[in-house]
Subunit: 145 residues, 2 copies
DNA sequence: ATAGTAGTGAGACTCAGTATCATTTTCTCA
DNA sequence: TGAGAAAATGATACTGAGTCTCACTACTAT
């Protein structure tokens, strides 16, 4: 998926929510696009030094409300943001329990379909309306082990 | 799995870590056992009014280090605790994105085995050592929809 | 008994995240 | 174009879940 698509889609989503696709918001989207996995606020603040913290927090919240971006929390208590799935590909996370680093990975389509079916069946039993699933692997990354 | 097993196991695990299985720790374990899913600290403080907050936090941390209990964080930013998997059964979570409530569910053994195999294969590609997986369904619970 | 170690609980403290508000930028439409 | 309206910015104050401290209490073993 090319940069232009993501930018266009982000602009459209924000516009629907009566928000503008300003320079700072573009920079946040670009930063998330550049990462190989979800980024913590700290990482974003580091990467975009000229953007003040309050602007970053505020805009990430707005981007999340507009469905441009997704907020995830792993067990290290730092919120992380990534581009929403419809702007990337469906994927999962490898979480290093040592350093907290998170990287993306994908399952093959067959396994994913099977999993999805099983999950919907399981959810129905509890009267639960599923909108998404989140699958994380906890372990030790290559550089920590 | 009966209460006595959990208590014995907890006592053994704590003892290995040079900790005692005191009354407050027993009460925490019992409270987690009684829940139908992971409990937030707030819920535990409510349920065990006579235990001060500092004791609850401290002991949950100790119980976690001793592998009696697992700490999980969902997207609502409240840490939740549940009994460690070897004291219960392997299971997953249904997370209500409206009210934040979390309940347990299990997949059938076949699907679980298949999933596990696919996950290990995927992790190997990234040089990742998997120790656990965590699968959450996000959606709307029966009482919120 | 008593010394040593672990646990307790009240309250102070930390810091990621949120709210406020005066100022600046951008859009709109006459 | 340009004036007013609406949204965005950024410095700073605030909030609250979670952590730390420390004087005190309760086990436990020799």
């Amino acid at each position: 998926m090319s940069d232009i698509d993501v930018d266009e889609e982000a602009a459209a989503l924000l516009s629907t929510a009566n928000h503008r696709y300003t320079t700072s918001r573009k920079r946040l989207v670009a930063a998330l696009q550049a990462g190989e996995g979800p980024l913590t606020i700290t990482q974003i603040v580091e990467a975009e030094k000229s953007l003040p913290q309050s602007t970053i927090y505020r805009n990430l919240t707005i981007l999340e409300e507009a469905n441009v971006v997704t907020r995830i929390v792993t067990n290290d208590d730092f919120a992380r943001y990534e581009l929403a799935e419809h702007l990337t590909e469906h994927h999962h996370h490898l979480i290093c329990s040592d350093c907290g680093h998170v990287i993306d990975f994908a399952l093959d389509a067959e396994t994913e379909a099977l999993l999805d079916k099983a999950l919907h069946q399981a959810a129905e039993k509890s009267g639960f309306q599923v909108s998404a699933h989140q699958l994380d692997l906890i372990g030790t990354c290559a550089s920590c082990s």
